[in-house]
């Protein structure tokens, strides 16, 4: 009997990558320019438009300077090589190396996410411990939660009048609601035996909070943080694009403005890599505070 699930997943991953890159390469391959069937007038027009250039032997080839279609993987690799070799170079106010851009994005993300987490956990505990308050505030949370964080941007920009802070606040808005809702839920659904033990042992308010309530609700809080983390990561890229703040999201947009599609693809890849690194860091931290029952 044949069993499914044999073979190494690693091999399959490589196989998928090769197929993808090969397909991409073939689909974006340009045939060399063929002047047959074109009048001299047409050729002159194409040369005038910059589509073709005169090659050494009197014939024409496609103008390599003028982009047409989606660039192939080799062009993206070439772009990545130049970008990475200049990773730590600052050429001008708006032209910083990719390492700086990643740093800006990560610190912007971290500031917004951490601030949102602290605020959301504190208020979440408050709501989780007070049933009446929870029920009073819950309708507002339910209305505010589904609003796209980007929808806040014009208002935030108008109020704080500073794109730097606006970008951080957009991340904050993206991260605050999931954590708030799950923290309140986690605290309010804490097993009552734990609170009974805390009550019998006459633990102080502070001790009860950090020895019993917080660790008890930690797995639920971490789940909320995980959702908030994803949502904040999604929000930081368009926030940079719209606000023109230097970062990997901005890189993608500026490359689009330059019509450098290879640059856009490179920026997309960088966003992915940054996300993976942040996510694995988060998972390590989450493992420290959760427990199994």
């Amino acid at each position: 009997m044949k069993t499914h699930g044999n073979g190494s997943p690693w091999m399959i991953s490589v196989f998928i990558l090769v197929i993808f890159l090969g397909g991409w390469h073939l689909l974006t391959l340009r045939t060399s320019f063929d002047a047959k069937g074109k009048t001299d007038e047409q050729l002159q027009m194409m040369e005038f438009n910059g589509d073709i250039v005169r090659a050494g032997a009197g014939g024409y080839i496609w103008n390599p300077e003028k982009m047409k279609g989606v660039p192939g993987p080799l062009a993206v690799v070439e772009k990545a090589r130049t970008e990475l070799s200049e990773a730590f170079v600052i050429k001008g106010t708006n032209d910083h190396g990719i390492a700086y851009l990643v740093l800006y994005t990560v610190s912007r993300f971290a500031a917004g996410f951490l601030a949102a987490s602290v605020v959301a956990i504190l208020f979440g505990i408050l709501l989780g411990l007070n049933r009446v308050l929870f029920r009073a505030v819950n309708p507002f949370i339910q209305i505010l939660k589904p609003i796209s964080p980007l929808a806040w941007m014009p208002l935030l920009l108008y109020t704080v009048k500073d794109p730097k802070w606006t970008a951080i606040l957009v991340v904050f808005m993206a991260a605050v609601w999931p954590t708030l809702a799950t923290t309140a839920f986690g605290v309010s659904s804490l097993k009552k035996e734990y609170l009974h033990v805390a009550a019998i042992l006459q633990l102080s308010r502070f001790k009860r909070l950090y020895r019993v309530i917080l660790p008890g609700a930690a797995p639920t809080i971490v789940n909320g943080l995980r959702i908030a983390f994803g949502s904040a990561l999604v929000a930081v890229v368009p926030a940079e694009m719209l606000l023109g703040e230097l970062g990997v999201g901005y890189l993608s947009w500026i490359e689009w403005n330059n019509l450098d599609i290879a640059g856009v693809i490179f920026a997309i890849l960088v966003v992915g890599v940054v996300g993976v690194i942040l996510d694995s860091g988060f998972n390590k931290l989450a493992g420290l505070v959760t427990y199994q029952e």
Partner: protein, 282 residues
């Protein structure tokens, strides 16, 4: 005056829409002497766990009062430690930390060395040496409740409240832990108030067994003296001539009479539900 007095305690829960309050139990009075082991037996829903929680201060009472050592108790406190049916160990703490949390609360003046020594003493007492750094997830039900017992004994409460402590433990392990509890109790002679379904457990451990009628409006109908000398152990206790008399009496009560609270076996008819419980002695 007795050490622990539950004085005419009644408990009502707010009823469903339209209906009046539901009476869980009414006018329960019981007295426990210092060093006595008293058990309440009754069917599920008779309110025996509610009674235990009221003594613990975890639930409020509707009428009456609970007096411990001459003082009325209100709210939970370190003098009345509960051993919970579902163990109530903090899953994020190790065995050591779970007990140390209690010890530090009970003896706030102790230094770290004293706390460590005290915790280790009780871990050894329940035979969990070597499991100090395990978390509850890594323990069997029996081991978890050993930690629960160690935690409860370690703070040396005035009264130990055992809330069906062995109900979630398999039958074979249950016997072993009951035996361990007998030995711990022999050594400490704590005052214990236990709630259980298990007749054999009640006879092995208790000085007196209180039989509770079914709810709602349940009450303590009879008090059975367990006239079997101590020290007891599981294999010797069943050989005592009173063992099966007591056991049969309790089971008869639970099977036939708990529903209406009539001790017809002895030909006694209750005049009114508020009358004092019948004391049964073999």
């Amino acid at each position: 005056m007795s050490f622990l007095v539950v004085d005419h305690v009644s408990k009502f829960f707010p009823g469903h829409a339209g209906g009046g309050d539901v009476c869980i139990f009414k006018d329960v009075t019981l007295k426990v002497d210092k060093g006595e082991f008293v058990t309440v037996i009754g069917h599920s829903g008779c309110g025996k766990s509610t009674l235990l929680n009221i003594i613990a201060g975890l639930e409020t009472l509707s009428e009456g009062g609970v007096i411990l050592n001459g003082r009325e108790v209100s709210g939970p406190g370190l003098d009345r430690m509960v051993v919970f049916q579902n163990f109530a160990l903090m899953p994020w703490m190790t065995v050591f930390e779970n007990i140390a949390l209690a010890v530090r609360s009970a003896y706030p003046d102790w230094d770290q060395a004293q706390v460590v020594a005290h915790v280790h003493k009780y871990i050894a007492l329940v035979g969990l040496k070597g499991a100090e750094d395990k978390r509850p997830i890594a323990l069997s039900g029996g081991m978890k409740q050993r930690v629960g017992l160690a935690r409860a004994f370690s703070i040396e409460p005035k009264v130990l409240l055992l809330d069906e402590p062995f109900a979630q433990i398999d039958a074979l392990t249950r016997g072993v832990i009951q035996e361990e509890l007998v030995q711990m109790w022999n050594a400490t002679r704590n005052t214990v108030f236990m709630v259980t379904h298990d007749v054999d457990e009640a006879i092995l451990l208790s000085d007196r067994i209180m039989l509770m009628t079914n709810g709602p409006s349940s009450r303590i109908a009879e008090i059975v003296d367990v006239t079997i000398p101590r020290p007891r152990s599981r294999d010797t206790v069943i050989e005592h001539p009173h063992y099966y008399k007591i056991r049969n009496h309790v089971i008869h009560f639970l099977v036939r009479h708990a529903a209406h609270g009539v001790a017809s076996e002895r030909g006694v008819q209750r005049e009114s539900p508020a009358a004092a419980p019948l004391v049964v002695r073999f």
